[in-house]
Symmetry: C2
Subunit: 333 residues, 2 copies
DNA sequence: CTGAAAGCGCTTACAG
DNA sequence: CTGAAAGCGCTTACAG
């Protein structure tokens, strides 16, 4: 069943059938109804490939994530897909991992699939070495690029991100206000976004007259074996009384490591996470975290995308504030 | 840049260019090289739409998940995407939610996008009411359907699943062997797959001479507010000494509820999860769980899919065994 | 308001 | 081993 069949059965030309399908141009109400009836009777669906061939679009958006198993990234994919379908778009998903080469390959793959736009989830795509971001600029030459939780200034690249510096600042401030004197910052990777959080951490420390430098930025791998050793070293090194963690998972693991070392949370040690995921809720004690409003971010991205694809304006940069969610891990009375 | 440009620049017909691109038919080595050089010099990529139009395929697979935010489902998506790209396929992702109507819509959406096959993640797609599975049968008329953790007998539907009955049986047996006398089974939904786990639970109980009936099957909603009340009721009702939970998340929450009621895990109450996710590892005490080998399942599914799309044989049903991972939540000495 | 016709960029029998 | 040509199923100026 194709447009010719519909044309024959309804006694009009294929041009007219096309017009009623796409609601384009003028079609007499009578004609439209006649055609619609035939279409419905046959539950006809236009062939996407043919349509794509003439319009150069299949209404498909490429979503790139370094790791969909990460709760935060999965959440973003969820919200993005949710929004995209409202506008008739379909999501093509790529999990790239952290290797630059793989990221490039996936961008090319999606380009070859002729997606209408690209959405990158997470700061993991913005490389520390500025030159390594060329692949993003390259991508933006073909299609609009949306960067979630990342910031890059370039034509056709749109960045939408939570103000993580302020977020981390507030989490740190809460601990300091409750009496912590010696906080430390823990991340699993050294990225642009982590550095921004660390800036917030430093700012709060400065404000409370606590001297901290780059040595307070710790990168602990996610490998479970080396992790134990890392924490042993950390706790031996100094009696830290607050762990500002770059995400909830790190916080949960850190909290457990502390307990294994006989350190009580929050009595001896306060712990904060980031992203406000289920892990923060489920952990015990439940972990104070920062809700960075992933849903808002994703909704904005998809809205922006429809605007840009419509040839309308959209700000190149959107930064919005997150929200602290206090829980037991920082409750000290 | 299209196939005509390549044809002109290399001085051969478009038919020959097409043959070298697709490695089809006979092409003289000399000709092939000449054409390849031109293709690479221009970094030419065939237009997918045109290709799709003539071959009726874009090498795209539809993946359906009810909820990508669920750790287990996210994990499956990860492994599936990983495998699919090895074979040159791209993943189109749909998050359907639990409503039957939405599931149907998404199946149609993917059909309209002309995907080559459909992969359904999780038993959430196999409805309890047999009639409601018609949409799956319908889908299988157009493309091969792969059902992960679900079982449905129908032409062009391939089921791949872990033996959850035995899995739940073994988890229950561990608790009983360690002295539990009064276990109860907790799920968040009443699905086909949950029922299979429950059968395993009952089997273990019978074997240990413990009488249990349908009243031992509890469905607790995921809504945090009603949840607290549910657990209060549960713990008031009887001094259960083992909670066999249908997944790790439920187990983690149950464990916390127990602690809030002054019940110690594992001393007073043993707890088991399912899926062996990070949550089981991170929880404290760490939770005994069942590794249902999601990666194996996904690898099999993608392999099966390539076989079927190649016109080869693949078993309609594959059931494999899971693996118990014992942790602190059942450690009683 | 409607239709004839060109064009989108491939693949694939078929002929040679 | 290679090429001419039909065909895939749409959209969209253009003419009327």
């Amino acid at each position: 069943m194709n447009i010719y069949d519909i044309s024959k059965q309804s006694g009009v030309s294929i041009a007219t059938v096309s017009r009623v399908i796409n609601n384009s141009g003028y079609v007499a109400e009578k004609t439209r109804k006649k055609v619609m009836d035939v279409i419905e009777a046959n539950s006809y669906m236009p062939n996407v490939f043919a349509k794509g061939m003439s319009t150069s679009s299949m209404k498909t958006i490429g979503i790139l994530t370094t790791n969909i198993r990460d709760l935060y990234q999965a959440q973003c994919v969820y919200y993005l897909e949710q929004e995209l379908k409202k506008y008739g778009y379909t999501a093509m998903l790529c999990c790239t991992g952290d290797e630059l080469a793989a990221k490039k390959e996936h961008v090319e793959l999606l380009a070859s699939r002729k997606v209408d736009a690209l959405i990158f989830i997470g700061s993991h795509f913005v490389e520390k070495n500025a030159k390594d971001n060329a692949y993003l600029y390259g991508a933006s030459n073909n299609v609009p690029v949306f960067l979630l939780n990342g910031l890059l200034r370039h034509d056709n690249i749109y960045s939408i991100l939570c103000d993580d510096e302020t977020g981390a600042y507030e989490l740190t401030r809460i601990c300091l206000e409750k009496g912590a004197k010696d906080p430390v910052f823990i991340a699993s990777r050294d990225t642009f976004s982590m550095r921004r959080k660390f800036q917030g951490f430093l700012k709060a420390c400065r404000q409370y007259g606590i001297e901290k430098d780059d040595s307070a930025f710790r990168v602990f791998s996610e490998d479970p074996e080396s992790l134990d050793a890392s924490y042993t070293l950390l706790f031996d090194e100094s009696a830290y009384d607050a762990l500002i963690c770059a995400d909830d998972e790190i916080a949960a693991v850190a909290q457990r490591a502390a307990r294994n070392h006989g350190i009580r949370v929050p009595e001896d040690l306060m712990v904060t996470g980031y992203n406000d995921s289920v892990i923060a809720t489920i952990a015990s004690p439940a972990i104070t975290s920062l809700d960075n409003r992933a849903q808002y971010m994703c909704t904005q991205a998809v809205y922006g995308l429809t605007q840009v694809l419509d040839g309308k304006e959209f700000p190149e940069e959107t930064m919005y504030s997150g929200k602290v969610v206090e829980r037991e891990s920082t409750k000290r009375t």
